[in-house]
């Protein structure tokens, strides 16, 4: 419990910042920080008061591989997250206004790709998966029976890695693998357990040869997009 008495509250905030609280007390305080802005303010003031003391710790270079480890941990936490909890960068791509812009741009960007595709029934849904520089990379078209993927201008995956295609229906907690993407970048899948629908997330991850060993994405998300009705096609 966070005490009501102002002096006791401030003493607790100080000992939290100092680091002398036991695990149970410290986690209670950490929870209270989110719910009690006045208490969070008291903690912030103590952090500011004592911060210059960190200069007493001699600087030391971390081990060389640490950034790569951090990046892998960031990727796995983003990949296992549900669609609602995607990393902000991806969420940004999925904002409706942006999807609208992608839809319009896709008419031009997708023209070449459409020519590459075999004649197919008019797609009901589509999306364009973008690179991290917002360049169109893949065109995804889908109807009730099939999901078709065509490469626009992607680079091949690094050696000893493959690209795996996934679909995440809205409300689902884990994506379903749609298989590996062959080097020519063209795939038509007729999934039996899921059906294309508006709002479905389509994503491509980097996986070890043969694909994810776990049935869930294990590598970083390379591309992601959300199916939208293909109006005007």
């Amino acid at each position: 419990m966070i005490p009501a008495d102002p002096k006791a509250r401030d003493a607790l905030a100080a000992e939290y910042v100092l680091g002398t609280l036991e695990a149970r007390e410290a986690s209670e305080v950490a929870r209270a920080l989110r719910a009690d802005p006045a208490f969070a303010e008291a903690v912030a003031r103590w952090e500011a008061r004592l911060a210059p003391l960190t200069a007493l710790a001699p600087p030391e270079a971390p081990p060389p591989g640490l950034w790569a480890r951090i990046e892998a941990a960031l990727d796995s936490s983003a990949t296992t997250a549900s669609a609602a909890a995607l990393a902000p960068w991806w969420r940004r791509l999925l904002e409706p206004w942006r999807l609208g812009a992608i839809g319009a741009g896709a008419v031009a960007a997708g023209l070449a790709a459409v020519l590459l595709l075999r004649p197919a029934p008019a797609p009901q849904y589509m999306t364009v998966l973008l690179t991290d520089r917002d360049q169109p990379a893949w065109l995804v078209q889908a109807d009730r029976e099939a999901i078709r993927l065509a490469a626009l201008n992607t680079r091949p995956p690094p050696p000893d890695r493959v690209l795996e295609l996934w679909a995440l229906p809205q409300g689902a907690t884990a994506p379903t693998s749609l298989g590996l993407i062959p080097p020519d970048g063209r795939v038509t899948v007729r999934p039996t357990t899921i059906r294309a629908e508006p709002g479905m997330l389509i994503e491509i991850t980097l996986e070890p040869p043969g694909g994810s060993p776990t049935g869930r994405p294990t590598g970083p998300i390379q591309f992601i997009g959300r199916l939208a009705p293909a109006t005007g096609s």
């Binding site: 401030d10 003493a11 100080a14 000992e15 910042v17 100092l18 680091g19 002398t20 036991e22 695990a23 410290a26 950490a30 912030a44 952090e47 500011a48 008061r49 004592l50 911060a51 210059p52 003391l53 960190t54 200069a55 007493l56 710790a57 001699p58 600087p59 030391e60 270079a61 971390p62 081990p63 640490l66 950034w67 480890r69 951090i70 990046e71 941990a73 960031l74 936490s77 990393a87 902000p88 960068w89 991806w90 969420r91 940004r92």
Partner: protein
């Protein structure tokens, strides 16, 4: 633009999901932050775990950083300290505390020089110097080296209750002195 001034915009970019900005923060700050974690954990492997946890927290919470309420360097340091303290606590703080150099650096006059890079640091240093040595030692051993009350009591060879009272008084005096 100096490194400190760049950190705020970099944190804002991290909030927009910019991985390169997070890496830039790592490149600018990891030597300082790793040193803070090593001082608390005295174990490079555990300190690397702490820095990893801390950067995941920084990625998640960068939107909570408010430049109007303080500088980015102390904000980053606080996240690293708490990540390291969480690891120290999960290990039952079974860290050796008999390292003769531990904390002594904090009592050497030239070491306190390092706590004097700007106005706030100079004020804290003056207030620390005004404390009785026993109160100052408790605060520094806890804040810089992550020692628990019990570990500080063992190290200073004093009863636990006495050490708790010294630390509490030290904190109160610091608050009055800095007000």
């Amino acid at each position: 633009m100096d490194a400190q001034a760049e950190l705020g915009p970099l944190l804002a970019a991290v909030t927009r999901g910019d991985r390169a900005a997070l890496r830039a923060i790592y490149e600018r700050q990891s030597v300082r932050l790793f040193g803070i974690a090593v001082a608390i954990l005295r174990d490079r492997d555990a300190a690397a775990d702490a820095l990893q946890d801390a950067f995941l927290r920084i990625a998640r919470r960068s939107g909570q950083f408010d430049p109007a309420r303080g500088a980015a360097e102390p904000w980053l340091a606080a996240i690293v300290r708490h990540a390291a303290l969480d690891i120290a606590r999960s290990r039952g703080r079974e860290v050796p505390t008999d390292d003769p150099a531990l904390g002594d650096a904090a009592f050497a006059p030239e070491a306190l020089d390092r706590v004097a890079s700007d106005e706030e640091a100079r004020r804290l240093r003056a207030c620390l110097e005004a404390l009785e040595a026993k109160n100052r030692q408790g605060v520094v051993l806890a804040f810089v080296h992550g020692l628990s009350h019990a570990q500080i009591a063992a190290r200073l060879d004093q009863p636990l209750g006495t050490v708790k009272a010294w630390i509490r008084r030290g904190l109160l005096r610091l608050r009055e002195c800095l007000a």
